[in-house]
């Protein structure tokens, strides 16, 4: 039998037939890949006062895959201005989902909060190659299952190509080739640079034009990476971060404090502070999907964060976080982000009362742990 199959003859007609089948396969795969370019819905809550685009602050970004939504929440009283960015790395879902939760629940009494949920919108249109990551993950909500995209750490190469052999970022640091598409290595950006540098420049323009006082960048990292469950702070925000950490510890949430290294350039927690003079912090939570020790990568791993390899690694003392059979579910990671944002706002109110930002209608971290994400997503 195998000999017969092996010896099948081909001619021009079989070539045409196979070409047609190949075309059909390309169309089906193309539809699947193209669906990644469709943005999932975000339903802002009643606290939203204005919605715009990042290109409003840097018009050359308009119409490009780097343009993205900016959601503004303004209080009745004057106060400080805070920027929250999620999705700088779209393969770090807790940062994105925490931003969506903010947009759908937040109400500001004093000051202003600007939220960019998809800081690198292009990265949401593709996956990281060779990671076998799922395209989407599902969160159960009161209105039914809700899907979110799991994107790539980097800008889609379809949108920015080719990568240089070595990349000197706008802050003057030499990096490896791929980092040219990593938004969190491209600050403070270049107005006429690569697409990712333009996105970074547009965010800097937003910070300048909106008079931002505090920038909070939401991220995740692999459980075996030392900078995890952490608040990374710029020199100018050391006191703010320390007070936030103490407040979180009182509530029973352990966060490390990590000073932003002065010679690690191009990252938000360094350049937002150096180039724009604001208090910059970056929040890290653990994400097994990003790690090298993970087993099979599934949508379930994104949401439940349970992986037997990580359990084994923890028992061998190889992780920088506590890890048990319960894993590190997305709800817990989002709860940590929301708790950290709240703690930073409370610390700011104590340090600079005239630049305080007061919010309401945000769930506490214990409430998210008890009830899950569903009740807080529309």
């Amino acid at each position: 039998m195998s000999r017969i199959v092996k010896d099948w003859k081909g001619n021009h007609w079989t070539a045409v037939g196979l070409l047609a089948l190949g075309g059909l396969a390309a169309v089906l795969a193309g539809l699947r890949f193209s669906s990644m370019h469709r943005l999932e819905r975000i339903d802002p809550g009643p606290g939203l006062t204005r919605q715009g685009l990042l290109s409003d602050y840097f018009p050359p970004l308009a119409g490009t895959p780097g343009d993205t939504g900016v959601y503004v929440f303004e209080g009745q009283e004057n106060g400080g201005n805070v920027l929250v960015t999620g999705g700088a790395h779209p393969n770090e879902p807790a940062g994105f989902v925490a931003s969506v939760l903010l947009i759908e629940n937040l109400q500001v009494k004093k000051g202003r909060i600007l939220v960019i949920p998809r800081a690198n919108a292009s990265g949401f249109t593709c996956n990281d190659p060779q990671e076998a990551n799922p395209q989407r993950f599902t969160v159960e909500t009161a209105s039914g299952p809700r899907q979110f995209r799991l994107g790539s750490r980097l800008t889609n190469p379809v949108h920015q190509w080719p990568d240089p052999t070595l990349y000197e970022n706008p802050a003057g640091q030499m990096l490896s080739s791929l980092e040219v598409r990593n938004l969190n290595r491209c600050y403070p950006g270049r107005p006429k640079g690569y697409l990712t540098e333009k996105i970074a420049f547009a965010i800097m323009e937003l910070i300048r034009k909106e008079g931002i006082d505090i920038g909070i960048d939401l991220h995740e990292s692999a459980p075996e990476y030392p900078v995890i469950n952490a608040i990374v702070f710029h020199d100018a925000s050391a006191e703010l971060a320390a007070m936030a950490q103490m407040s979180l510890q009182f509530e029973g949430l352990e966060f490390r404090l990590e000073a932003s290294p002065v010679n690690l350039r191009g990252l938000s927690h360094r350049e937002w502070g150096d180039a724009a003079g604001i208090k910059a912090v970056l929040i890290e939570t653990p994400n097994p999907v990003q790690g090298r020790l993970k087993g099979k990568t599934t949508a379930g791993l994104v949401v439940d964060g349970k992986d037997k390899n990580y359990l084994k690694a923890f028992r061998l003392g190889r992780l920088f976080i506590p890890y048990d059979e319960g894993g590190v579910p997305l709800s817990r990671r989002v709860a940590r982000h929301i708790a950290a944002i709240t703690a930073v706002l409370e610390a700011q109110a104590e340090l600079e009362p005239e630049k305080a930002v007061e919010v309401e209608n945000l769930p506490g971290w214990k409430q998210i742990l008890d009830e899950g994400l569903g009740p807080f997503l529309r």
Partner: protein
């Protein structure tokens, strides 16, 4: 830059199609088509 990328991919697509019609064995043709599917996606900047 898009046009440069597309021209490079198109060059390879043409060569693979010529190779496909030159093969006399079914499985050789099949292998060429499997490669072509990926190149089609690149040609239209989908993947």
């Amino acid at each position: 830059m898009d046009i440069v990328y597309r021209l490079i991919v198109l060059y390879f697509v043409i060569h693979i199609v010529i190779h496909l019609f030159g093969r006399k064995k079914f499985w050789d043709q099949f292998s060429a088509v499997v490669v072509l599917v990926l190149f089609f996606l690149r040609l239209f900047l989908i993947k």
